[in-house]
């Protein structure tokens, strides 16, 4: 006789395969986007028409470099979650959907890697 409760037996057997992680991560990244994007908007506005030296000097400040890295990480994770929902809604057929979801992950991963590399290069440059 099984000691498991009926709920324990049913868990993980639904079509969704997972619980509310997607929703929670989407809302948490959205919440964090508010302060991070306020910082980001300030950064962009104060660097319009700036010289390359100005950008380097700003990123030498570890607070700015780290905040910018955090902004990129948070925004790209939020972007991936959002695009995943769009793909799941509109791309039909297992193959196409799978390909689109993989491309989505590749897109945000590559962009984040390029952004992180650029931020670190500028931050550590002479």
């Amino acid at each position: 006789m099984s000691m498991k409760t009926p709920l324990k037996e049913a868990r993980g057997l639904g079509a969704a395969k997972s619980g509310t992680e997607h929703f929670w991560q989407q809302r948490l990244t959205a919440l964090l986007n508010i302060p991070l994007l306020l910082f980001w908007a300030w950064f962009v506005v104060t660097h319009l028409g700036a010289s390359r030296i100005d950008v380097k000097m700003s990123l030498h400040n570890p607070v700015i470099a780290v905040l910018l890295l955090l902004t990129m990480a948070n925004v790209f994770w939020h972007m991936r979650l959002g695009m995943q929902v769009i793909i799941e809604d509109y791309v039909h057929g297992h193959g196409n959907k799978f390909a689109a979801l993989v491309l989505n992950t590749i897109f945000v991963t590559v962009l984040f890697a390029v952004a992180a590399h650029s931020i670190l290069t500028l931050s550590f440059a002479n």
């Binding site: 809302r27 104060t46 962009l111 390029v114």
Partner: protein
């Protein structure tokens, strides 16, 4: 698992039978602006990369964003960001179970639309004030 054979069946009436309403338009706009921002993020990463990479590439990027067309793209990006951000705040309110009354929804979507336009213009006035 074998793919089930697709049979052409009539579809139930969808979006096209509804009279367009602002709440529905703003919901669609939330998704479209999200997708636009997804691809628009390339602009900022490209700018960062050019700054990290070389003087000539950075000059190219600054020239693009200084050109009227680049400015127009940035203006569109700003509005999309504002609209998506305000739309997100609206969703936070809805997450708490509040603001679902028809009159409230109508007010919220108007606030979203007008707020996004006002803040976009404010940010650009600020940007032109800061720019050398």
């Amino acid at each position: 698992m074998a793919e089930p054979r697709r049979v052409e069946r009539p579809l139930s009436p969808h979006l096209q039978i509804y009279r367009p309403m602002l709440s529905m338009m703003m919901s669609i706009a939330h998704r479209i602006t999200g997708a636009a921002l997804f691809f628009g993020s390339v602009l900022f990463v490209g700018w960062l990369f050019s700054a990290a990479h070389s003087e000539s590439l950075f000059d190219c990027a600054q020239a693009f964003f200084g050109h009227w067309f680049g400015r127009l793209v940035l203006f569109g990006f700003t509005w999309a960001l504002m609209h998506h951000a305000f739309g997100g705040l609206r969703h936070f309110l809805w997450d708490t179970g509040r603001g679902f009354g028809l009159a409230t929804v109508e007010k919220l979507v108007w606030a979203n639309l007008i707020g996004s336009i006002i803040f976009t213009i404010l940010l650009w006035v600020l940007a032109y004030g800061v720019m050398p």
